[in-house]
């Protein structure tokens, strides 16, 4: 493992080049070459991210949302993985062209990651204090004592009671929620630019999930870091995300601001997801409209749009031709042949805002009528 070297220039101290974003992922493709064939795990992912922003990556299992993040972090074994095209630039520097040694500086120091399972991501044989301080010793050249002191501060920061005592305890003495707090403390130890959170609350109960989300938001406000939140839960992204990327079969099908995805969605898969979730109702129950069928195999992707076999609106062209990204001027894109067809977009599910905006429009109309 790389030791801290003083001649190394910390990338996160470097200014972001003019006209670039903190993180730019541009048509990234990564395929696994397996015995069964080529798995199109990441197939043309594009997005941008700036400091202080939260990107929500939503998709079902096998949609490539975790693999995309792991590709950025250089955590995919190559082979069987192979970059097939595109780029990912962090502060203008390509992450894909970095050496393993450079990547080790990036991991934990500039981009940190927390995982779904807080039970297995901590090493059971080391004390919590040592694990939290490890990154600081590695990247910042802290002494053992300094690292431990900072670990106490960090644990305090993430809301662990009695941090002086608890740094000397082992992971099994912590509950699931507390371990996830420790993971966040570890990830934030070196004050990273980007925090990638891979389903950090999926293994936790809702009341604990609410605590962890609140903590991540608090930490973001304090440190100004960006967050990439990978989740299958649209509720969690509604709570946290500024931008959202919806993935299906290794491809991003829609990307935009949270408002655009929830209130102006332009892809039938996003609609299907929203319609599949039972709403908290207090008057009448509305029936669910599930997406028919099963996700396709990433080895033998159907020709045309990968969602076409399950799409209720699919027509011939969808089965024959892979849709291009239809992008609006705000950068909202949708991989659907009909994303710019206003008549087609009327099929989108009703939202609280369409109801509200209709009401607002009606009121505005009434107002102008009165004035007239």
């Amino acid at each position: 493992m790389a030791k801290h070297t003083h001649d190394y220039v910390d990338l996160k101290e470097q200014p972001i080049p003019e006209g670039s974003h903190l993180l730019e992922v541009d048509n990234l493709k990564m395929y696994f070459h397996t015995q069964d064939g080529i798995v199109h795990a990441v197939d043309g992912v594009s997005y941008t991210l700036d400091r202080g922003e939260t990107l929500g990556v939503v998709g079902e299992s096998g949609s490539g949302k975790s693999v995309t993040a792991m590709t950025l972090m250089g955590l995919i074994d190559m082979p069987p993985g192979k970059i097939e095209g595109g780029d990912a630039r962090y502060r203008g520097k390509s992450l894909l062209k970095m050496s393993e040694q450079e990547m080790q500086h990036i991991r934990g120091n500039d981009i940190a990651m927390i995982f779904q399972d807080p039970m297995t991501s901590l090493n059971p044989v080391y004390k919590i204090g040592r694990q939290v301080g490890e990154g600081l010793r590695l990247h910042r050249g802290y002494t053992k004592k300094q690292a431990l002191e900072r670990a106490v501060e960090l644990l305090d920061l993430v809301g662990i009671p009695n941090p002086e005592k608890r740094v000397n305890e082992y992971p099994h003495q912590f509950s699931g929620g507390m371990r996830q707090r420790v993971m966040i403390a570890m990830a934030l130890a070196c004050d990273p630019d980007i925090l990638i959170a891979d389903e950090p609350t999926t293994a936790l109960d809702v009341t604990i999930q609410a605590q962890i989300i609140e903590l991540m938001q608090e930490m973001q406000q304090k440190n100004g870091n960006a967050i990439i939140m990978i989740t299958h839960d649209l509720g969690v992204v509604a709570d946290m995300a500024d931008k959202i990327m919806v993935m299906y079969a290794g491809r991003p099908v829609e990307f935009g601001t949270a408002d655009e995805i929830f209130y102006d969605s332009r892809h039938p898969y996003t609609w299907g997801l929203i319609n599949s979730i039972p709403k908290q109702e207090t008057d009448e129950k509305k029936p669910l409209t599930p997406i028919a069928g099963n996700p396709p195999s990433l080895v033998n992707l159907p020709a045309g749009c990968p969602f076409a076999p399950r799409c209720p609106f699919a027509v011939d062209i969808c089965h024959e031709q892979l849709p291009e990204h239809v992008t609006t001027e705000t950068g909202h894109y949708s991989a659907c042949h009909f994303a710019d067809d206003p008549a087609f977009l009327k099929n989108a599910p009703a939202t609280s805002r369409t109801a509200g905006s209709r009401r607002a429009a009606a009121e505005a109309l009434a107002d102008t009528a009165k004035e007239a």
């Binding site: 493992m1 696994f32 397996t34 015995q35 069964d36 798995v39 795990a41 299992s61 096998g62 975790s66 693999v67 792991m70 972090m73 955590l75 995919i76 074994d77 069987p80 993985g81 080790q104 991991r107 934990g108 940190a112 990651m113 995982f115 991501s121 901590l122 090493n123 080391y126 040592r130 694990q131 490890e134 990154g135 590695l138 993971m183 570890m186 990830a187 099963n294 996700p295 396709p296 195999s297 990433l298 080895v299 033998n300």
Partner: protein, 319 residues
């Protein structure tokens, strides 16, 4: 490595899982396969295991048909060359005697082939005995638990705590020499490992929801054991028993080497090595060639066991 962000947490495993999930989901149109059929197909891809199977089949055929051709072509394995013993003694390997001859002028290859009969029979029969006892004991311990489990497993621990070969020697000393007693001794002493493997296999299978599902349907104990628990835990026993055959062959050789197994003049791989060892300096083939027979056969059973373990692992498909 203790800092998770630096790790590569199972990236390869993840790729496999992605591949397996999608490979597994794509079932439409595929012909239905049974699990045993699947296992056989996986075993076929394992070159080492196939080589092992070929070797084992070869040894079995040669040993089984020995009476038909060995005495005629190579010579009787037990009868000494009474007419010209000095001239026939400890000849180097030649076309006529591929493995040479021993002190008494007997053809060594012939003795190795007849020795294979004994070794294979000892391996199979004693493993059969161990497996039978082990299955019953393991099943009792796992299914009924409580005091049964404690008694059986502590008994197994006691057996395992003794130096194995010493224990067999003691047993042979008590019940006497002879091939049947070798079966019994090795067979009886081999059960604790089988019992442990089977017990833990049952315990892990018992945790599966399909066992609870069967209970919830009102299935009887017998049905649960025979339809649900046994078919899913037997794979580990098949693997273990295969490897155990090699172990039993080794133990028999060790016993015969120590003069406690097969009674002369019957040949056994152990006695052949014992006979040959004093000529290691001058006629090394007398010891090395029977040694190679043991090595290759035991290795074949171990490799086959390894191959079976990979082939029968249902989890590899389910991940």
């Amino acid at each position: 490595m203790i800092y998770p962000v630096h790790q590569q947490p199972g990236a390869a495993a993840h790729a496999d899982a992605v591949a397996a999930e999608h490979g597994g989901a794509a079932v439409a149109g595929a012909k239905s396969r049974t699990l045993w059929g699947d296992a056989f197909n996986r075993l076929k891809k394992n070159k080492l295991a196939i080589a092992a199977v070929v070797w084992i089949i070869f040894v079995v055929i040669v040993a089984a048909t020995a009476d038909l051709w060995v005495p005629q072509t190579l010579g009787d394995p037990t009868a000494t060359a009474s007419d010209n013993m000095a001239g026939m003694s400890r000849l180097a390997p030649s076309l006529e005697h591929p493995f040479g001859t021993d002190t008494l002028g007997r053809d060594v290859l012939s003795r190795v082939i007849y020795g294979a009969r004994i070794s294979l029979v000892v391996g199979l029969v004693s493993t059969g005995i161990s497996t039978l006892i082990g299955l019953v004991m393991g099943a009792l311990a796992a299914y009924y638990g409580g005091i049964w489990d404690t008694i059986i497993m502590r008994l197994a621990d006691m057996f395992l705590a003794f130096p194995y070969t010493l224990f067999v020697i003691m047993m042979i000393a008590v019940i006497g020499n002879g091939i049947q007693n070798v079966f019994i001794a090795i067979g009886i002493l081999g059960w604790p490992q089988i019992a442990r493997v089977f017990r833990s296999a049952i315990l892990s299978v018992k945790e599966n929801d399909y066992v609870d599902a069967a209970r919830a349907m009102g299935a009887s104990d017998v049905r649960i054991i025979t339809r649900h628990i046994f078919p899913n835990s037997v794979a580990s026993i098949v693997v273990y028993a295969t490897m155990n055959i090699g172990g039993a062959i080794l133990t028999e050789s060790a016993l015969s080497y120590l003069g406690m197994g097969v009674v002369p003049p019957d040949p056994s791989w152990g006695t052949l090595i014992q006979d040959g060892q004093q000529y290691l300096q001058t006629q090394p083939w007398l010891m090395i060639l029977p040694g190679l027979a043991i090595l290759s056969t035991v290795l074949a059973f171990t490799l086959l066991g390894d191959g079976l373990r990979d082939a029968l692992d249902v989890k590899m498909k389910d991940a």
